[in-house]
Amino acid sequence: MTDDEFEKGLEPAVAAAAEQPLDTLDESVLGEVAALLTQVDPVPDDLIERVQFSLALDEVYAEVAHITRLSGDALAVRGEPDSATRTETLTFSAERLTAMVTVSRAAPEQVRLDGWLAPGAVLRVRVRMQEGTAETVSDESGRFILEGLPEGFAQLTFEPVEGEAGERVVTPMFQL
């Protein structure tokens, strides 16, 4: 049922009940819904903390890139030769910039990001983590590599190198 069909299609008795004030039965149903959701679909423990960290940016940014994820298991189907390395590919789409980033984890302190920016451009790429920030500059074809990163949550920022014009783009946090 679509929302519009729902609006039109309520039985008269239900539509009439909708005009009544909330009563104790409504309270009781909502109470059970709240308890059920807490059990079935809890808000992730550290989500609030992660959001607060991702917002603690010192600089103004022009755009938030949308994230698209490709599952690591799906990639494993391709037959990665080294099964000890877990990989995951993410794409970040902003208005004038798309980044494709492969996260490889060989060991806890051995996370590597292989990135590819389109259109290819020399940009300053920063990865913000709880432990600190690492940065590099992409080459003219838009490729960049960041190595030796710890596991945990991270956020990328892309910005012009000094002296160049352009806007700063920021991504949501993702798991290294």
Partner: protein, 213 residues
């Protein structure tokens, strides 16, 4: 007890706390934004999950909404409207992600070529349903199914209101596009529909016993 969920000792509701925090932020109190995040993130989570996104995609949407608010905060003149702004942004972004992830994928493929296309074409993982992850009794399982069977906006409203304070019902219903009447909020269509479904469900018959009908 009526209003079984998160009331604060000061008697403030989630909405009044959110509006107060955003007002403080707008006059230069940077730390107040963290308070806003704390109060509103659970409601954004319910809104986005109600749209049917999996947990990982839901986290991305919640983060994107907050980053966008931080960037747009100066354009929101009336702090009273911040809750509506957030819930609307969450609904839109969830919708965009669920409807347009394919478009994003195609665009990425066109940007990066065949190699990317091959990667993108692989199947997505299916998220296990709640009944596969946690043990529910029959009554809970039926309630879950009834809530899931509601139209998206109703599912969002019922799960957001369940997690909020009752005095905020009218405000949240308006923010989610399902207004319930401003002069003394009425039950509204979504709750009326859910009650109707439950009243016909033998597993829920018990709820109606002992309540004068």
């Amino acid at each position: 007890m009526i209003g079984t969920t998160p009331s604060t000792t000061s008697g403030e509701t989630l909405v009044t706390q959110a509006v107060a925090a955003f007002s403080r932020y707008q006059v230069g109190d940077r730390a107040a934004f963290d308070g806003l995040v704390e109060v509103m993130t659970p409601l954004l989570w319910r809104t986005v999950r109600g749209a049917g996104l999996d947990r990982v995609a839901a986290e991305d949407v919640v983060q994107t909404v907050w980053l966008t608010l931080l960037r747009s905060a100066a354009t929101i003149r009336d702090p009273q409207s911040v809750v509506g702004w957030l819930l609307t942004a969450a609904r839109r972004e969830a919708w965009r992600v669920s409807k347009h992830s394919r478009t994003d994928t195609e665009r990425t493929s066109s940007v990066f070529g065949v190699d990317a296309e091959e990667v993108m074409a692989l199947p997505e993982q299916r998220e296990p349903g709640p009944e596969e992850r946690v043990v529910l009794d029959e009554r809970q399982r039926r309630l879950w199914e009834h809530v899931q069977s509601l139209p998206v906006r109703c599912r969002q409203l019922v799960s957001v209101v369940a997690a909020a304070d009752r005095p905020d019902y009218a405000h949240l219903a308006t923010a989610l596009g399902m207004p319930v009447g401003s002069i003394g909020p009425t039950r509204g269509r979504c709750l009326a529909k859910l009650r109707d479904q439950l009243s016909r469900d033998p597993h829920w018959a018990g709820l109606w016993e002992g309540v004068a009908s």
